[in-house]
């Protein structure tokens, strides 16, 4: 039985969804307000510029070093986790990961799952997979709970329901829960907490994500603010953690700066309310905690990114969301426009390895390359540079070898290539260029009033009566400085 209700119908392509989002003034204002506030909070949390830059650099070092030892660290992680009593599972694809999770739930006759916030479980579309198998998987993070209640997907990786304001959440609660709740945020949260508290106690299995997996000690670190992560990982008898293979770091010293970068970049917090360090199931002399703990390590295209020295930098990401908070495009179109699990600048560079560039052909172009994302990235991922790399991959001719990004060449157009070749002729042969300038300035009155998409937002550009080439030549001929020197 499939209990899924189709999510709100959005346009089928990026540009169509962007148009819809741009026309939605409520959505625009929700995002602008929220992103402005998040930018301010981050700026306040990093008031010392030198400290911030030193920490970002350190964060970049740690992530790069971790990735350079990735195979060894993963092996060490498995050994230590196993020694701690945590069972490790490897999944190359989301299908495999879902099968593993489903198998574990089945083995315990589980029917109810409660989940802490996990973007990897979103990658897996775990809720739908389990719902199709008659297993209820309830989101326990307040934002995730709200989007699940409304049959939506998260619109932000840290704040899944950021596209809704309190009035919209109140209306949703009134409609779906049949309770009268005001627009008061505290009251809304209390309502959610009351419902979730019961679910935590009833759940057969708890699922969570992982922020950092620490190889040396075999520890899973999870940051959160609501306590739902701790409840999901301690209250049910079985805890299944799911994460990407890139989340491993060497030791506990590494996570101190990384957590600080993460919480300050994401929400401007010095540290989150809860920092969970999970080192194994309940021991015989302990009173609480799960009886079993599992970790599912998911690849889902990450090894493809790992194999490419430049694109490997995408795996540095610690999922703070600062790039989307500062992105002028994300701020205007919101997370759902991207149509994928990871929206915003980081989504544009991690998604191609997961689903193929041909499934997200417009993503690399949907950026003015303004650089705000790269400037705030806590681990210094050069996002604009990687977007440009993806643009290059995306216009590769069919049959181009080697294929370094899955689905490359999805924007190849012979017509556009020929246009650029003509542009090369014009700009490498001064005689052509001068002829072009002469024609454009001489016949400026004939400049077309419509110039493709440009004239949707602008009046048509009219060339000047004389080019700088002309003006400069005449001016410099008579220049006093020149005469003096000659």
């Amino acid at each position: 039985m499939n209990q899924r209700i189709p999510v709100t119908e959005l346009a089928s392509d990026f540009k169509g969804r962007a148009r819809e989002a741009l026309a939605d003034s409520q959505l625009r204002s929700n995002f602008r307000t929220a992103m402005d506030s998040l930018m301010r909070k981050r700026a306040d949390a990093f008031s010392d510029e030198d400290e911030r830059e030193g920490l970002r650099e350190l964060g970049n070092h740690i992530r790069a070093r971790s990735l350079s030892n990735l195979p060894d660290l993963l092996e060490q992680l498995e050994t230590r986790l196993t020694a701690n009593g945590i069972k490790v599972h490897w999944a190359e694809t989301v299908e495999e990961a879902n099968e593993i999770v489903h198998g574990l739930i089945e083995a315990h006759d589980g029917r109810q799952v409660v989940k802490g916030k996990s973007m990897v479980s979103e990658e897996m579309e775990m809720n739908d997979y389990l719902a199709d198998r008659d297993i209820e998987c309830l989101e326990s993070d307040m934002g995730e709970y709200i989007v699940q209640l409304d049959n939506e997907k998260p619109s932000h990786i840290i704040m899944p329901a950021i596209h809704k304001n309190a009035r919209q959440v109140s209306a949703l609660f009134n409609e779906k829960l049949g309770e009268h709740v005001s627009e008061d945020v505290d009251e809304l949260i209390q309502t959610g907490r009351r419902i979730l508290r019961r679910k935590f106690l009833e759940a057969d299995v708890g699922v969570s994500g992982v922020n950092f997996a620490i190889a040396e000690t075999g520890t899973l670190l999870l940051v959160e603010n609501e306590g739902n992560g701790r409840m999901s990982t301690t209250s049910p008898p079985v805890h299944i953690a799911v994460t990407g293979i890139e989340k491993v770091v060497s030791n506990l010293r590494d996570v101190v700066p990384l957590v600080s970068l993460l919480t300050r970049s994401a929400l401007g917090q010095p540290i989150t309310t809860y920092v969970n360090l999970i080192s194994g199931p309940r021991k015989p002399d302990e009173l609480d905690g799960p009886e079993e703990v599992h970790l599912v390590l998911l690849d889902n295209g990450r090894t493809g990114a790992f194999a490419d020295a430049q694109m490997r930098q995408t795996l540095n990401c610690i999922r703070c969301g600062a790039c989307m908070n500062h992105c002028p495009v994300y701020t205007r179109v919101g997370g759902h426009t991207y149509g994928e699990v990871y929206p915003g600048p980081i989504g544009k560079i991690v998604t191609p390895h997961m689903v193929g560039l041909d499934k997200v052909p417009d993503h690399p172009s949907a950026s003015s390359l303004c650089g705000a994302c790269g400037e705030v990235c806590p681990v210094k991922i050069p996002i604009p540079e990687l977007l440009q790399r993806l643009r290059q991959e995306n216009v590769q001719a069919p049959g181009h070898e080697p294929v370094s990004v899955k689905g490359a060449g999805s924007k190849y157009s012979r017509k556009e290539l020929l246009m650029w070749r003509a542009w090369v002729m014009l700009n490498t042969r001064p005689a052509f260029y001068k002829l072009f300038l002469w024609g454009a300035t001489r016949f400026r009155a004939l400049a077309p009033k419509k110039a493709g998409p440009w004239t949707e937002n602008h009046s048509a550009p009219v060339p000047a009566a004389r080019s700088l080439h002309d003006l400069a030549r005449d001016h410099l001929k008579n220049s006093s400085i020149r005469r003096e020197r000659l």
Binding site: G54, R65, V256, S368, K380, V424, W454, N457, S479
Partner: protein
């Protein structure tokens, strides 16, 4: 920073480039080449000419190599690396005489300063030439302020302006700081902050035609912020942004306009030189 944070550093195997060290500037040269840029060439030639006049006012002989065209940026940002390389090579050959190159646009200057080295990374000879070009490339406001160390004398009336800085100029060339410092030298000019001042105007080269809806929303917000600032006009040191902003304002049938910083400075501080054609 806490000692604890530095614990992890000694194990690092890869060191990311640190923040760029502050650029060291040469003494004022006797001659420079002006690289006008293709947008200025065709749409804002007066701004290019005013840049030449400002440089001459500093006693510098300006050359305008007549074979110049475009820096290659449009193809480079669109993913057409080979095509960008071909055009870049033509400019590299042209500007190979060792003269300092002044560019009245931060994003084109940034192309010379940072991206030519990426384009020629696999070609040792060209890479060396690209590095050498990067060393002697200056954005106009940077050159006036840091190399010429100008002291501007404001001859204009009281005036309020808003400053818009191109994103690449800001992030690759620090143009926002240089432009602010120059404008602060003008006694009768008040620079007024505008809403979301550091945000992109939505141009982004081919982005503006590939994603006209998003770009249009961005430029509408930018023009609204500029008009709402209380300034009489907008000043920018980048004609890509100006083409975007002015084109949008014209379409919106607004009287407000943006102007290149070089033209603004020349209007207020220009000085007739004896015997000189101005």
């Amino acid at each position: 920073m806490s000692e604890l944070f530095y614990d992890a550093a000694p194990n690092a195997t890869r060191v990311a480039p640190a923040r760029e060290p502050e650029r060291r500037y040469p003494d004022k040269p006797a001659e420079v080449s002006l690289f006008g840029t293709c947008v200025v060439d065709l749409f804002f030639p007066e701004a290019g000419l005013d840049a030449i006049r400002l440089l001459e006012q500093q006693g510098i002989q300006v050359h305008f190599p007549q074979q110049q065209s475009c820096c290659g940026q449009p193809a480079w940002t669109s993913g057409y690396r080979e095509e960008a390389r071909a055009v870049a090579l033509a400019q590299l050959d042209l500007l190979d005489d060792g003269r300092p190159v002044v560019v009245p646009s931060g994003s084109c200057a940034g192309m010379f300063r940072h991206h030519y080295q990426e384009l020629f990374a696999e070609e040792p000879d060209n890479l060396r030439r690209a590095e050498e070009l990067a060393e002697r490339t200056f954005e106009l406001t940077e050159f006036l302020l840091k190399v010429c160390k100008v002291q501007l004398v404001d001859r204009g009336e009281k005036h309020k302006i808003a400053l818009h800085t191109s994103c690449t100029a800001r992030r690759e060339m620090n143009t926002h700081l240089h432009a602010r410092e120059l404008l602060a030298q003008l006694d009768n000019v008040e620079r007024i902050d505008h809403d979301h001042e550091s945000e992109c105007c939505g141009f982004g080269g081919t982005f503006s035609v590939r994603m006209p809806d998003i770009s249009g929303a961005m430029v509408l917000d930018k023009t609204t912020a500029l008009r709402g600032s209380g300034a009489a006009e907008a000043i920018s040191a980048d004609c890509g942004c100006l083409m975007n902003i002015n084109g949008a304002l014209e379409k919106q049938q607004q009287a407000f306009r943006g102007r290149h910083l070089a033209s603004f400075l020349w209007e207020r501080c220009g000085e007739r030189q004896p015997g000189g054609e101005q």
